[in-house]
């Protein structure tokens, strides 16, 4: 199982002004989302806004794996505890489960992939797309992902389709048969990304 999450840092600043150190409700935002230990990491970091979203994307990516495992949604960012091994590598604990994360940080975005095993090999790609409405952007991302799968596994792109399960976890189908491909899709602002095992 695998999960990913991308944060467009510009979009995040626009959408969540409280994530900025000078946001009116910044402290309350931090308190709702991060453990004391994580808040210390943010305060000690050079680029606080970037660290907020690095930790956030780690939590989101790990959460996506957790939902696939247990089929239960919840919203409690503090129940997910991040640990940074380096800027790019980290771990997220959810109750007794541990997830391993690897992140890519640029000026424009933070992108994290979470896996169950420390050394997983996965295919991932993130790209910039013209900002479209929600539905169109989601369609573009699905097509990019299916194109990659079709190419990799030698399938006809036209036979591939994505459908969501009851808890909202997407699955890929070839004609009517579900394929055993674990994957995760994410988009935010100008950026989109997919990953699969």
């Amino acid at each position: 199982m695998i999960g990913n999450d991308i944060v467009d840092l510009k979009q995040a600043a626009l959408d969540s002004p409280d994530s900025y150190p000078d946001g009116k409700r910044h402290l309350r935002f931090l308190e709702k989302v991060f453990t004391v230990k994580e808040q210390d990491l943010i305060i000690a970091s050079e680029d606080k806004h970037q660290t907020v979203w690095l930790l956030w994307s780690m939590k989101e990516a790990a959460y996506k794996v957790n939902v696939q495992q247990f089929g239960k949604r919840f919203f409690n960012p503090k129940r997910l505890e991040c640990e940074l091994v380096s800027n790019e590598k980290g771990m997220v604990k959810i109750d007794i489960e541990t997830y391993f994360t690897s992140s890519k940080i640029t000026e424009d975005y933070v992108y994290t992939v979470a896996t169950l095993k420390e050394e997983s090999s996965f295919k991932t790609h993130c790209f910039k797309a013209k900002k479209l409405n929600y539905k169109l952007q989601s369609e573009v991302l699905k097509q990019q992902f299916l194109k990659s799968v079709a190419k990799n596994k030698n399938y006809n792109l036209k036979t591939l389709k994505i459908k969501k399960s009851e808890v909202g976890v997407p699955k890929v189908y070839r004609d009517l048969k579900r394929l055993p491909i674990n994957f995760s899709l994410t988009h935010c602002g100008r950026f989109s990304g997919f990953v699969y095992l």
């Binding site: 944060v7 995040a12 959408d15 969540s16 409280d18 994530s19 409700r25 309350r28 935002f29 709702k32 989302v33 956030w56 989101e60 949604r73 919840f74 919203f75 409690n76 960012p77 503090k78 129940r79 929600y134 909202g168 935010c188």
Partner: protein, 84 residues
């Protein structure tokens, strides 16, 4: 506060964060913040802060955990108002 008043207040709170206009226009107790309204999870934090400010209540993490739909938000607000 009547049920309708509470739904109307919640509707005003979530409006800036929704990405699905159609689901917003048809908002009911059964509307899910993420699956239906497509509110991103970071903005769910804003929704929670806005709900705290609007009703002058404090939402603990355990309550937040189930606050994924209009119905759940209504239950939590009502519980917190009753405790006041």
């Amino acid at each position: 506060m009547t049920k309708e008043e509470l739904i109307a207040k919640l509707k005003t709170i979530v409006q800036p964060y929704i990405q699905n206009e159609e689901a917003f226009n048809n908002l009911s107790e059964n509307t899910d913040f993420i699956n239906d309204l497509k509110i991103n999870s970071a903005n769910l934090v804003d929704v929670i802060l806005d709900v705290e400010d609007e009703f002058d209540i404090r939402i603990e993490n355990d309550d937040m955990e189930r606050m994924v739909s209009v119905k759940a938000a209504m239950d939590i607000v009502n519980e917190k108002l009753a405790e006041k």
